[in-house]
């Protein structure tokens, strides 16, 4: 039985960390034949540990896991992926069951099941996954309007927030267009078309300034930019008709052009990122214009610029060297700040701090710090992007980017003003800072209004940094008091220990709590504390596998040792963000290839992006 890699937001169980992480893993995805053999070997374990309760007759929770046959398992990947997650995390079999699989048996079960779910039929055609039509998210709409017309439009105040799926608001599945939104778009288009008269880019596009140009050329150029591809003759003709109609009514010439612009901003070809389907059964490589759009919305949350347009028009963007050069250029461009503001803010959750509720009486400093916290996180991530630094620096860095307010909050000495990169002095400074674990924005986003929330912090470490999604708690799980100052004087740690005595809670909390409790030296807004509720903070914790963590710096050290898992987490979140859908089990080989391609440089952010851009799903499409 070989142990294979954990991917797809599943991660390796902490309970098994000593077995899995410690071993030299055999990379890659098994062949189907290998996977079948592994399954046959492990199947009795599933029969013994799962099917007792989840058998065909009166199954617990209506979940039937009585499959002896590998094909049955592969036929229901959704069900078995859930089972995989539960077994891997250690939540199943429940702690209340006396007979538990040994650590080795659990490893075998996880590896066999994952192998079976991810193995690809040899010779099977590559599959880019289901196509997803994505509407411009609110942020993308704002940025696109800015880059098309130079108009700064406050989308947050004018358009409703987009719902999230899989942690990102740019995932196609939840980008609906209800009537309410359409009216909002109509209103926005009218406002923006008027505002465009006043900007240089707008005046150029509307033909108010610049060289004299026949109307049809003017319209064609407007559509080329607005639809992010060359327009069809019909599309041009319908706009020319708008212009002619305005003229027939005796309106000024620019009036008709403005109407045409409004129709561009309202068109499904502007509001959606449309990709053409083809009448072929095999997947195809997307065209250069579509590639330019995927690329620019991935890296800039906005439309392609003139250079990308030119390369796409010439049909050379897909050439690997050209593509590589463009990715490097785009990541160095200021517009790539969108990766910090849209991608990282959602992946790491620090964007929440902008409108999070924090009790101002308990944390009076927060009012001044709110904006700076988010700014620090964005600047830190943006620097990683622009300078193509290794993603490991997010876990542990010997520098922080702060202004005076934050430096004071962190207890760091700083001279001068403005934002500075401050080197941490290992002798003098607190080594818990440097990296996302010591970032006030992250520590605040994972807290409650009146206190820290160790369970949420633990779940955040697992989900964001280690690509491990903890199973949800049962509906009747208790809650901790909202304020950590309680009459019974129990610390949060003592309360959680009490909670863990309940066997139905123990199997998950044994994994979550130690990670979150290790950060207890940071209060609800990320300030350092040695004491809480009048006694010393105990942040030294022990992981479920017995690993001792000596508080925040110990957790940091441990996470750095988990770098492979962290890198996988970065890749799988990037994949979801770039493709608009989460990776499937069948994408495991793709993710592995991205990782392999970035290994040599030490997993630099730009290299990971390049790996995603070069991947088969990013460059291909199939029929739905």
């Amino acid at each position: 039985m070989s142990v294979r890699w954990a991917w797809i937001g599943l991660g390796v169980s902490l309970a098994l960390a000593d077995h899995v992480v410690g071993q030299a893993a055999e990379p890659g995805v098994p062949t189907l034949a290998e996977a079948r053999a592994d399954w046959a070997e492990a199947e009795p374990l599933f029969a013994a540990h799962c099917a007792r309760c989840h058998g065909a007759r009166r199954p617990k929770a209506n979940v039937v896991l009585a499959a002896r046959d590998a094909d049955q398992v592969r036929a229901d990947p959704e069900l078995w992926s859930r089972a995989l997650r539960q077994v891997e995390f250690g939540a199943m079999p429940p702690a209340s069951r006396k007979v538990q699989p040994s650590a080795e048996e659990r490893t075998s079960m996880v590896a066999a099941l994952r192998g079976l779910l991810t193995a690809v039929e040899s010779g099977a055609p590559a599959d880019p996954g289901r196509p997803v039509l994505r509407r411009l998210s609110r942020s993308a709409y704002q940025r696109t309007v800015r880059d098309l017309l130079g108009v700064s439009f406050d989308a947050a105040a004018r358009l409703p927030a987009d719902a999230q799926a899989y942690g990102f608001d740019s995932v196609g599945d939840t980008l609906f267009v209800p009537p309410m939104l359409l009216e909002r778009y109509a209103d926005a288009a009218a406002t923006i078309a008027v505002a465009a008269r006043e900007t240089a880019a707008g005046r150029a596009l509307l033909g108010i300034e610049g060289p004299e140009m026949p109307t049809d050329q003017l319209v064609r150029r407007m559509l080329r930019r607005g639809f992010r591809r060359p327009p069809t003759d019909d599309e041009v003709a319908s706009r020319l008709a708008l212009v002619a109609a305005a003229e027939a009514q005796g309106l000024a010439p620019h009036d008709g052009i403005e109407t045409a612009l409004q129709s561009v901003l309202m068109s499904p070809h502007f509001l959606f990122r449309v990709e053409e389907d083809r009448e072929v059964d095999r997947p195809w490589r997307i065209g250069d214009h579509e590639l330019a759009v995927r690329l620019s919305y991935f890296l800039w949350s906005s439309m392609p610029d003139a250079e990308l347009d030119g390369l796409a028009d010439r049909g050379v963007l897909c050439e690997p060297d050209v593509l590589r050069g463009q990715v490097a250029r785009m990541l160095a461009d200021p517009r790539a700040r969108a990766l910090a503001e849209d991608f990282a803010a959602q992946w790491l959750g620090f964007g929440r701090v902008r409108d999070i509720a924090v009790d101002f009486r308990r944390f009076p400093a927060f009012r001044r710090l709110r904006g700076a916290m988010v700014e620090e996180a964005e600047r830190t991530f943006h620097r990683l992007v622009v300078e193509n630094r290794p993603v490991r620096e997010l876990l542990d860095a010997d520098e922080v980017i702060v202004d005076r307010r934050l430096a004071a909050h962190y207890g760091l000495e700083m001279s001068g003003s403005g934002w500075q990169v401050l080197a941490l002095d290992p002798e003098r400074d607190n080594r818990a800072r440097g990296g996302v674990l010591g970032m006030a924005a992250v520590l605040t986003a994972t807290s409650d209004p009146l206190r820290t929330n160790p369970v949420r912090r633990g779940a955040w470490v697992l989900r964001a940094l280690l690509a491990t999604d903890p199973p949800p708690p049962p509906a009747n799980a208790g809650t901790l008091p909202e304020d950590d100052r309680q009459p019974d004087k129990l610390s949060l740690r003592q309360r959680l220990e009490r909670h863990r005595q309940d066997v139905s809670c123990a199997s998950c909390h044994a994994h979550l709590d130690p990670l979150g409790l290790a950060l207890e030296n940071f209060d609800g807004i990320g300030a350092w504390r040695d004491d809480a509720q009048g006694r010393p903070v105990e942040s030294a914790t022990v992981l479920a596998d017995g690993t001792w963590l000596g508080g925040p710096t110990g957790l940091k050290r441990w996470l750095v040792e988990q770098e492979p898992r962290f890198v996988r987490s970065v890749i799988s979140h990037l994949f979801t963000y770039a493709l608009g859908r989460p990776p499937r089990l069948a994408d495991e080989a793709v993710l592995h290839e991205v990782e392999r391609s970035a290994a040599e440089g030490g997993y630099r952010f730009g290299d990971l992006v390049l790996g995603i851009v070069a991947s088969y799903p990013f460059q291909h499409r199939r029929r739905p």
Binding site: A165, M180, S238, M266, E276, R581, R623, P624
Partner: protein
Amino acid sequence: MARAVRTLPALSRRTLLRGAGASVALPWLEIMEPRSRLAGALDGARRREPPRLSVLFVPNGVLPSAWTPEATGRDYELTPTLEPLETLRDRVFVLTGMRNANSREGEGHYVKTTALLSGAKVKRTGGRDLQCGTTFDQLVAQRFAGETPLPSLELGTEPVSPIVDMGYSTLYGGTISWRSPTRPAFKEIRPALAFDRLFRAQALATPRVRSVLDVVRAEAKALEGRLGGEDRDRVAEYFESVRAFERRIEGLRTGADHAEVDAAARPVDGIPADFATHVELMLDLQVLALRTNTTRVCTFMFGNAVSGRDFSFVEGVQGGHHPLSHHENDPAKQAQYQRINRWHVAQLARYLQALRSTPEADSNLLERSLVLYASGIRDGNRHDPNNLPVLLAGGGCGQLGSGGHLRLPMHTPLCNLYLTMLRMMGLEDLESFGDSTGALDLPR
């Protein structure tokens, strides 16, 4: 239409609908003249006009001991939480014993919130293939689409929070209305934009916008034909939204949809910092929408599922809604939880009073409405969708008798109430809805 948009400071608006007595004028409603929207619909025809429907959702359940009255019938004693309804008790039914059986499984809040008005099962998903069920308010909206400028108006106070929680898209917890089993109806949380939703279309009903809609509708149709699968559904949704907007503009052009609204009534941009003001504004806008007949169907979410909103502004409360709802049977927490429950009921009372103070024909808006007030769980400490806290208010255009406390057989499907209400709303031929087993026999 050229309208100088002038905005008033938020504070002065706060008192606009305050003053519960029937004789108190409603200044900002008086400045609107709902002329032709109501014209010609008087007398005999009016009586057959279906009642307005309004649903108010409150998150996190209630403290049961302070909610359910002991006695039944008309002369029951109001419980501490229901006390604010004293002057309205002849128009309010307290309905005890109903449950939403399909939302027993899943998790504690999201499922029970998003399926509250449909009784449907909710698909566990982080976002792809959301699935719930068409809600009864939307069924009404769809039946009467075209008769009012807007089929329905969905309002709330909190945005969909940016996390997937417990395997469920949090969209579920921020949505109580579903236009179809897969399409949520999004709510508006900003007062100014809600106002625009009601009246801004008048400014957009220009020849230019109409010609633009012509072009993009044709483009959507062509695109729809070239796409398949879910992509096609998404473009179809866009197409239908264009059509709905066109119908609305057409109504404006022919004068069927015309309410003279003073631009000064538009609330200021942004979300009021003070929650009480925010709620008052949103409910005022509902009254305005119903009064001007801009729509007949409104829903309002006081908060999203699991809302942790700080309620320290209520006397005797120190903390957030959801944390306090987990009272763990601690009397000190229960007392605070109850005060939050009571605050919500007081807002309901104020809203009902505003409806009652709005004359219409020979009666008032409350008599001509059905108002449902409910939470998706009974006790915030237990997350059970049994014996839900449910109030039904209004006269339903003469279909609902004077109020009282009704104890229904335990576990009566909540959908039985919806079936009853749907029939009152004019869907008489409907045989069932959700998991309904029959209509309720409410006193007339």
